[in-house]
Every structure is written in C-alpha cells, then in structure tokens.
Subunit: 427 residues, 2 copies
C-alpha cells in the first residue's frame, strides 16, 4: 500500500460540549501535509475511556498514523493512557524515562511531582516515551496492527513542540526507510475573491482541472467573499510535476478570476489595501456609519498601518455626520442618511477634514430594525473621494444578519478602495 | 437503552486541511444538550464520497442521531447527498418539494436555479425534505437502522435556522413519544469575568463543587477574560434536583466572583453596557487610538445601539487627536500620545464635541513596533469622562500579539464604562 493516511483524535469533553473547538488539528494537518501524509478523518471524543477506545479501534481500521491530543493531564478525567493501553492490549506501568523527564521539568519551576502528576508517568508497555520540552506531561507512541498511534498533550504549545521535535522526525525517518519513493507534500494554494456569488465563480472555473489531474478545486463562500483553493492530492510521487501543474493551474485561476481576485494565501484585504496605499504614498481617512468602526478596526489590524491610516469617523447619528464631516443637514433630509449622495458627501467630508489623499465611506442599514420598503435592511452605499470632481459611490443590497451585513459592507468598501488604488499609477 | 447519543459529522475538505475549524458543531452540541441528547462523537471528513460513507457507517453503530453538516452545495465536490444515498442503499431523485423551496427562495433574490443548483434538489428516496428558510440548499433526514440521519448545509446561518425550525421539533417529539423517562437536559451555565487571571478565578472557586455532585466546573481563559462554566453531567433523570443544585452553585459562583463577573450566558460586554446606558438614558461617544475602531464596531454589533452610541473618533495620528478631540499638541509632546493624561483628554474631548453624557477613550501601543523601554508594547490607557471634574483613567500592561492587545484594550475600556455605569443611579 502506497498511501499513508492519518486520523487525528482530539480528546476532551470541553471539545464536545464546552463551546470550544479543536484547533490543534489545524496545525497537525498542516505539518502532516508538508511531509505528504493526508489527514482523512478527524474525530473528537470526550473524556470517557470507552469512547476513546472506540475511536482508536475505528481509526486503526482506516488510518496508518493516528495522532491523539489531550487527556494526558494529572486529573482523573484524563484517561487517554488507560484507553490506549486497554484498546491495544498493553499494560500501563510507570516508566523511569517518563518520570525523569517530568521531574526535571518540574524542578526547573521549583516543584516536585504531586501524587496526581505521578499518573502522568504511566505509559503502555512497549510504547516509546515522547519528551515534553514545554510542560510536564510526557507523550508516547506505539505501533499496533501496523498503525502508529501517537499520544500528545492537548495544550497547543506542548503539542506543537512535541510534534516538531519528537514525532515528525520519526514519521520522516519511517517514510525514508520504507524504500518507497518519497511522497510529494500536499500543497494547497488559496485565492480570495470578492463581489461575485459562488455560482458565478464556479462558472468561471468550469473545466479548469483536467480530468484525472491530481488536484482538487475547492470553493467556499463567506461574507468576505468566495475562497477558491487548489489542493494537490495526497500520495503523489513526483513533486516537480505536481508543482509545475499547480503553477499552471494557479495562473489559469488568476486569469479567469481577473480583478475579482483580491488576495492569495494568507493575505487579507486590509493588507492588500495597505500595501497599495504605501506604494502610492497615500494617506487614508474613513467615515463609517453602519459598519460602526469595523473598517478602521480591520485597517489597523495590520502592523504599520499608522503609516497610511490617518483617522476614522464613526458617525452613527445624523448630527455626527454633519458635525464631524460637514454633510449638510438638508442633503440628509432630502436624500436620506442612507443614499448615494450622502455616501459621496461623507467620503468628501472626511478627506477634506483630515486633509488626506483619499476618503472612504459607508452608510447603510445593518438591521434588524430601520428598514423600509424603499430602503430595506441590507441596503448599503460605499463612497470614495480623491479630491477630483468625480467621487465614486456604489450601491449594494446585502442579505444576512446585522453582523454579516457589517462584514460585507466593510469588505465592499475596502474592495472599492482596492480597485481605485489599482487604477492609479504607482509614484 | 435509555440514553440518546448523537454524533456530528462535519463535511468539507477545507475543515480537514484548509486551516478552518468546524464551529457548527458547537451550536449543535448546545442545542442537542438542551433536550437531553448528548453528543459523544464528532467527526470531520473531506469531500470524498467514500470517506463520508465510512463516517456514516461508523456513526450508525454508535449513535442514535447523526447530524451531518456541509456538502450540500451546487458544485461537484458537494457529495453528501450521494454519500447518504449510497451508504443507506437509497436512490437519489429530484424531489418536487425540494425544488419548489429552492425556486421560491431564489426568486426572492431575482434569480432562477442554475443547472448546477438543480443538483441541490436531489434527495435520497424515503427521506424527508428539510426546508431552508435562509439559503437555497434544502436538507433532508431519514431513519436507517434505527438511527436518524440528518443532513444540513454547512453555512452556519442556514444550518442554525434549519436546526431550530425543522430538526429540533422532530427530535423533541420523538423523545416525548418514546415512553422512556424524560432525560434531564444537559444544562450549561456560563459566567464571563474580566480583570483577573485564571489562577485567581480558580482560587476564588476552590471547593465550590461538592464531591460526587453531577456538575462539572470549567475555566477557560481568553483575551476577553476568563469564562467559568457549570455543566450538569449527561443522562441524569432528575431534572428538578439538577436544576436546584445548579441554581445553588450558580448563586455561589456569583457571590464569589462579585463584580469581576460582567455577564452570563450568551450576553456580551457590549450588550451589558448598552443595556445599562439605556436604563440611565445616557448617550456615549468613543475616542479610539490603538483599538482603531474596534470599540465602535463592538458597540454597534448590538441591534438598537444607535439609541445610545452617538459617534466615535478613530484618532490614529496625533494630528487627528488634536483636530478631532482638541487634545493639545503640547500635552501630547509633553506626556506622549500614550499616557494617562492624553487618555483623559481624549475622553473629555469626544464627550464635549459630541455633547453627550459620557466619553470613553483608549490610547496604547498595540505593537509589534512602536514600543520603547519606558513605554513597551502592551501599555494601554483607558479613560472616561462624565463632565465632572474627575475624569477616570487606568493603566494596563497587556501581553500578546497586536490583535490580542486590541481585543483586551477594547474589553478593558468597556469594562471601565460598565463599572462606572453600575456606580450611577438609574434615572
């Protein structure tokens, strides 16, 4: 069998019912992918020995590597050790090397192991102890029915260090000594679009992937736009070929998506906009109504944004629009606070008052109240003023709850700014 | 068998390798818990038909209810419909009721179903169609081998509405007609604190839970504070007794936490602050520097916040602090933009300019750059001015990355406002 599949089992009742989601598996899937091991299943179980045993037995049938996280703490509800021993028919015993590592670690903090912590040195017979360079709980791994079972603590920093220092080298070595050709890493490339619905993006990408090409195309819609991903399939044995194919497909995606594509990989809209502002040495000021400060918040999530963000005005009341931006009360009375004209006047007002190159504005109805027949919830105008006689304003009709409408509105405003920036020459 | 166990299967390759974690299951576990159904397993699988089939077959053996989310979209990688049909030996066919619901919904947006979207009306024979009141993809449910299999879209809003309107009523009815003694709901009560580290909260709650009481105590630290939870154990059959015990413990938690406790349940700091502002008929204006608009954004996440939020000023540059708030350039030069004095002057400035009852301000160094030895990254001042001669200002030294420092700063400012509000009589 050529294929190495992994399953991740996250253990902890708080992950089942505690309103907390497992994030360790994101790191693990990433790291395993880099060495060509595909995660095909993830499971979450509570701190119940029998349920953990069931999860192990299920996973052994379908995965070659099982990475378990959690349940290695000192309290009685931490029962991963017992579950692994029971599931695989091994005995639990206190192991010198496990105890030594723990004692050394605790000594650094001026502590000695408590009775409860001594439980952490219990390891199934035949298992290899995995050192914990960060915390007190050791991990372990053992091979059972040809599956490598790895047990790591649930604390993210401990799990990550142990994975890097103890587990990945073993997996790499196993892969190298297997005599099998080296697997290509699973590569994933991500493209962010805004402004087109998922179905339209889907139509643009129709026929992109040649049949039987070892690449999957993914689409994922969110209030921030549609995310497009290309992922190489696992268990390919020609890294260069994969890379070339992916590069070709990525170029094709770019040309098909055109300027609907605003960012790639981990980049965000606010980073892109910041970079383009810096390139053109422009200062920005923002006037927000329905987004309430969200655009300012997003822009200032980027380190160094003080170089191009001068200020923002959150004008929730009409009076604030007049006092902070000089939007005339007559205009508001005549056209309504949510109108193309007011959006343009807000953008002009903040630009002039801040004395900067470009002003960006949003006004709209985020709901759930405040909508009328002619101006329903979700009606949003974004405006941009660059000091020329042609302010830009755009109308949007968004669906969703208050938060979704705010998110989309902020994205629409930043996207308008991005498109305007790209139309301007770099100084 | 007395116990009803549920398994949640989240479908989507982006949840396996895409760096995105499944959050739908948190909502689902909560809602199922309320009607006494315990989630014992969660699984995540990619968009591979065979893997989904495997997950269904595994789940059917151990759960009485399976809730699947995702994979119901219009694209070819959406294969939950096919997987359920295949796994349970049913045929897929286009269903009139499914098509009708979708067509009606799309018509509201002025669209007609595309060829791709027609796939969404394919439903396994014998299944009941579940209406989607929010989006286009219908869901479905069917009983197979005594297990109820429910398939819902992965879009959170759609999944939540369909769960509430279509699935929970069915589960409740099934539970009532089963003739089994009614299970006590798994009740979880949550308390939100801000301002004390986890170890201090832990110390305050020591000895809270009597031994063998069917209640678990949980603590969870985040930038927004420490969350305390009390959760009754599953499969208890004495609702009244549980309820009484929980109420007693909750009262004890409240008295131990005192005014470090700012909210309970799903309530947020911004909702609490809004409620207290309304009670006192006060209008608020905010001046933000390092938070960049986050406080305004949070305040306006609450529907109806225009009743008490007048405006916000995001003063990222020193010039903006002077021009928008009247903070004197001399004061900034003398004390620094990040200082107790400037925080107080900002709060006063925004209150006066907005002519409202209370002004709130934040200035600080969010990092990663901009720190010095005397004013390190994480140094934050929050200010409050109520028009008396005694403006309030507080210093904080936060740890964490830029985002964490912004989040904590916004929470610290809102908490200052909350404490001030509670000290004022209700008019």
């Amino acid at each position: 069998m050529n294929q190495i599949d992994a399953e991740i089992i996250a253990i902890g009742s708080e992950l089942l019912v505690g309103g907390r989601s497992d994030s360790n598996s994101l790191f693990l899937a990433d790291e395993l992918g880099k060495i060509g091991i595909a995660v095909r299943f993830k499971s979450v179980v509570g701190d119940e020995r029998q349920d953990i045993v069931t999860a192990i037995h299920t996973a052994v049938k379908r995965a070659h590597v099982i990475i378990m996280t959690g349940g290695l703490g000192p309290t009685v509800d931490d029962c991963t050790r017992e579950a692994v021993a029971y599931a695989t028919g091994h005995r639990l015993g206190r192991r010198k090397d496990a105890l030594a590592g723990m004692t050394t670690r605790l000594a650094q903090w001026g502590r000695t192991p408590s009775t409860a912590q001594l439980r952490q040195a219990l390891i199934p017979s035949g298992a290899t102890v995995l050192k914990n360079p960060v915390g007190s709980a050791p991990g372990f791994c053992l091979t059972w029915k040809k599956t490598l079972i790895v047990s790591l603590p649930g604390v993210p920093r401990e799990m990550e260090e142990m994975m890097r220092q103890e587990v990945l080298p073993v997996l790499r070595a196993a892969s190298e000594s297997s005599g099998r050709p080296q697997r290509a890493p699973i590569v994933r490339q991500v493209f962010h679009t805004f402004g087109l619905p998922e179905a339209d993006i889907d139509a643009k990408l129709k026929g992109l992937i040649p049949s039987r090409a070892p690449v999957d195309l993914g689409l994922l819609a969110s209030p921030m736009g549609v995310l497009v991903s290309l992922t190489t399939k696992a268990n390919q044995f020609a890294p260069e070929k994969n890379r070339d194919l992916l590069q070709k497909l990525a170029d094709d995606v770019r040309s098909r998506l055109g300027d609907w594509l605003f960012a790639e990989g981990r980049e965000t809209m606010e980073e892109i906009v910041g970079r383009e502002l810096i390139k053109r040495r422009l200062m920005l000021a923002v006037a927000e109504s329905c987004t309430g400060g969200l655009i300012g918040h997003r822009l200032t999530q980027v380190a160094g944004s003080s170089a191009y963000v001068d200020r923002g005005a959150v004008c929730y009341s009409n009076r604030a629009k007049t006092e902070m931006l000089g939007v005339s009360a007559e205009l508001i009375a005549q056209k309504g606070a949510v109108s193309m004209e007011v959006a343009a006047a807000m953008a002009r007002g903040i630009r002039e008052r801040a004395n900067v190159s470009v002003g960006l504005s949003v006004t709209g109805i985020a709901g759930p109240g405040g909508g009328t027949e002619t101006k329903p919830v979700g009606l949003v105008y974004v405006g941009l003023d660059d000091g020329t006689d042609q302010p830009i304003a755009r109308e949007f009709r968004f669906h969703g709850d208050r938060n979704v409408i705010k998110q989309r509105s902020s994205q629409a405003a930043l996207d308008l700014l991005r498109r305007w920036l790209l139309s301007k020459a770099v100084k």
